[in-house]
Symmetry: C2
């Protein structure tokens, strides 16, 4: 069986989907940014770095961290520097390689992240309250399908 030929409308539906994805993400991010500022006097990039490190109890190389966050190494370095001087992140040289640093959350960092993560779940849950859990699971599944394809790419 031959699949239906692509029409211009198929492209339009995909672009419309992308514009909605982008808009939804930016709206949620704007709200998270505001809540993080109000409740924890912190920023979204700091939260993102701490969330990534919380998933890696053995720590991460700076290069892994920036690859995971999809931002440049330079941007991450500034954020990590501040987190280190605030005592929330520790930077240690890796065995046998004095130029390669491992960064990880300190005990204080882990504790603060736990509080932020719990609040984060509450905020997201309130923002997405209208999304039925089954619908959420379905949507998440669809997104995972194309995500895994991309993450494999370049």
């Amino acid at each position: 069986m031959v699949s239906a030929p692509l029409t211009a409308d198929d492209g339009k539906e995909r672009v419309r989907l992308w514009l909605r994805l982008l808009r939804a993400t930016r709206l949620i991010e704007a709200e998270l940014r505001e809540q993080l500022k109000i409740e924890f006097d912190t920023t979204l990039p700091r939260f993102d770095v701490m969330a990534a490190l919380d998933r890696a109890p053995d720590g991460m190389m700076m290069s892994e961290l920036s690859r995971f966050l999809l931002v440049s190494n330079g941007n991450v370095t500034g954020i990590v520097d501040r987190l280190v001087s605030d005592g929330l992140v520790a930077r240690t040289a890796r065995d046998g390689d004095r130029r390669a640093f491992i960064v990880k959350l300190t005990e204080a960092g882990t504790k603060q992240f736990k509080a932020m993560a719990a609040a984060h779940v509450r905020w997201i849950d309130a923002m997405l309250a209208d999304v039925d859990p089954e619908e959420a699971a379905h949507l998440a599944g669809t997104l995972r399908t194309f995500q895994s394809k991309w993450e494999g790419g370049h």
Copy 2:
């Protein structure tokens, strides 16, 4: 009829959905950033500003523009300054108010944006090729539902 009580799992599904939304958006943005650089030697924030102005043939106030883009006025000002000096955007004082500026695409800006927009459709279509158009329309509809609720808020 009483609706099912919320469980902790409902919250988890919504957070999972959010993390996937965020990841998918960042992956697509990273790819767009790369393509915009390669094909047009431009950046995503410049593209976003031009896209917003392209939808407003009569131009926009700076404050409208930054509200629409969900970024601070300061960030938008720098981008608009560069677009003005590149001849792609024109800034004119609004009648009767010398402090309020209207910005809009110039003819050259409109022409350049058309070329970028056409490429943008191609890139998105290629990236989302695995998403069935019907599925795309369904997903876009779901996202619109909660989006319209948020846009109304604060």
